[in-house]
């Protein structure tokens, strides 16, 4: 009886190790397969354009609204904090750097996860459950190439652009709050931004969404594509809902962790 608990613990550790090793291997093979297909011609342009429309164009409104309010809040915080030290010319720099280096890439990625990533997982999960993925296989069509590669190309293309839109709209929002609401001189706001933002900041602001896009499609597609192998053994509608939640949580946490790693390497 006394030995039962440690033995169960060891068993649990063993099961967990095997599960994590299998999952990692399976996810890496999935990623290599999907990324490898990006370079195989011909590219399915129509499918890629459809995905760019879905992931990019249809996320535009939520990105503009989020970007605007984020920029406004940043400028407001910068105004109240910098006012104490009389450094009002740094408001533009603080808003722009905050958006370009950090908030733009992260928040745009989180918005894309919520809007497009969850849809990807649910779509692939339902396709798996209704045997549509098996049907593709049986027609001699590679489902990775047919379904997932266009999503990879579209997200790699769309997310950096959405991040740029987020940054620009955010800076405009910051400008409105600082210059129009709080009487910061327009020249000071713009000059502070020009002086303090350099190419390295812009590079960081573009490398982040590029890496995030790969992570988002990788996790969200994998979870949906392999819904039938989910650990809880739940299938059908409940299985799809479960893996969709998992995909959103896992990709959001991964984006935040990767944000730190990329920042650490590039700053």
């Amino acid at each position: 009886m006394l030995l039962a608990t440690p033995i169960r613990l060891i068993e649990k550790i063993g099961f967990e190790s095997i599960y994590i090793t299998r999952l990692t291997g399976s996810m890496i093979i999935f990623l290599v397969h999907c990324l490898g297909n990006i370079f195989i011609l011909p590219i399915r342009f129509t499918a890629v354009l459809r995905q760019i429309y879905f992931i990019g164009a249809r996320s535009l409104l939520v990105i503009i609204v989020t970007g605007m309010f984020t920029g406004m809040v940043l400028a407001l915080l910068a105004y109240y904090n910098l006012k104490q030290y009389g450094n009002m010319e740094l408001i533009g720099a603080a808003t722009a750097l905050g958006l370009i280096q950090e908030l733009g890439p992260v928040l745009a990625a989180l918005m894309v996860i919520g809007r497009a990533g969850s849809a990807m997982t649910a779509e692939l999960g339902i396709m798996r459950n209704s045997e549509q993925i098996d049907a593709l296989e049986c027609m001699g069509i590679d489902p990775y190439r047919f379904l997932i590669t266009p999503k990879f190309i579209a997200t790699i293309f769309s997310l950096p652009l959405l991040t740029c839109v987020f940054d620009v709209v955010g800076i405009c929002g910051g400008y409105l709050v600082a210059v129009i609401n709080n009487d910061v001189p327009s020249g000071a706001f713009i000059q502070g931004m020009i002086t303090n933002v350099d190419w390295a900041d812009l590079r960081l602001g573009l490398v982040k969404p590029l890496t995030f896009s790969v992570i988002i499609v990788w996790i969200c597609s994998y979870k949906g594509f392999y819904v039938h192998q989910n650990r809880s053994g739940v299938f059908g509608a409940e299985g799809v809902s479960l893996v969709t939640t998992n995909a959103v949580v896992m990709s959001s946490v991964s984006v935040l962790a990767l944000d730190y790693v990329v920042g650490l390497i590039m700053l």
Binding site: E131, Q132, E137, M139, I141
Partner: protein, 272 residues
């Protein structure tokens, strides 16, 4: 990969399953299954729910990996083929799934045309004509522009059938053609399957548990129960088989299970 089009002329058994064993986790699902399907015949795989018939079908389609054994399709062991070779092999196979597996974002025509656009360089007009021809075959002419959500159960099965024959495959697989359909639509579908065999000379494998449908269309029947083949033979052979499990299935008689009180008590009181 050798050219299967020249190979299968010399093959009597276009599908050969040899000593197939498969597991889901620790559970053995198929126990040493052997089946031969002759060229041009309709082979019906019959059995109750959970007998392993759909699992067997999915192995024939290369969708599951066998624990051991071989599956020869048109002379080639598909358990040994690479992924690319398997995709090539599948161009000779048509599959109509139980639920249709139509792509919900595509119209009926787009669903049927997909294999042609993916595997051929035919022009749009030719593809359109071929699509209409196949829709005529399944009595759905004029339904090209409907979405799958606008179709009835029987229509979905017929569209799935049209899609599965668009490449004029040598082998056609059909999972539960009659499931969920009323008797009239079910009989129509059976007629259609027989017409396809006669007109196109296809080898057809059908998985079903509908006895009437099986007896109507089968050249030969394989009865599967608990992952084991009980009999393979003509309709008469199966009807006259004296195996109790086969007769139970034919007479829709539930299994008589001897209850062991000791084992029953253990099942109820076990931990976890």
């Amino acid at each position: 990969m050798p050219d299967v089009s020249t190979q299968d002329k010399d093959i009597e058994h276009v599908i050969r399953v040899e000593n197939l064993v498969t597991h889901f986790g620790d559970r053995e699902i198929l126990h040493n299954v052997n089946i031969n399907v002759r060229k041009g015949e309709v082979m019906v795989i019959m059995g109750g729910s959970g007998s392993g018939k759909t699992t067997l079908l999915r192995h024939m389609l290369g969708l599951h990996q066998a624990s051991s054994g071989s599956i020869y399709m048109l002379g080639q062991d598909i358990t040994q083929l690479s992924k690319k070779q398997m995709y090539e092999m599948r161009r000779n196979m048509g599959v109509a799934f139980q639920g249709g597996a139509l792509f919900s974002s595509m119209t009926v025509a787009e669903n049927i045309q997909l294999p042609l656009y993916e595997h051929t360089s035919l022009d749009d007009m030719t593809i359109k004509i071929m699509t209409r021809m196949k829709l005529e075959v399944v009595n759905l002419a004029g339904f090209e522009d409907l979405m799958p959500s606008e179709l009835s159960g029987g229509m979905i099965k017929r569209v799935a059938l049209a899609r599965s024959i668009i490449m004029d495959p040598r082998l056609l697989f059909f999972d539960e053609p009659s499931a969920g359909l009323d008797p009239v639509v079910s009989a129509e579908l059976d007629e259609l399957i027989l017409r396809l065999r006669d007109a196109m000379g296809m080898t057809i494998v059908i998985v079903t548990h509908e006895l009437d449908s099986a007896f109507r269309i089968a050249d030969r029947i394989t009865v599967l129960d608990q992952g084991q083949i009980l009999i393979t033979g003509s309709v008469e052979d199966v009807k006259n088989c004296d195996n109790e499990r086969v007769q139970n299935l034919l007479n829709r008689k539930p299994k008589d299970e001897d209850i062991d009180p000791e084992a029953y008590l253990q099942r109820l009181t076990r931990e976890g």
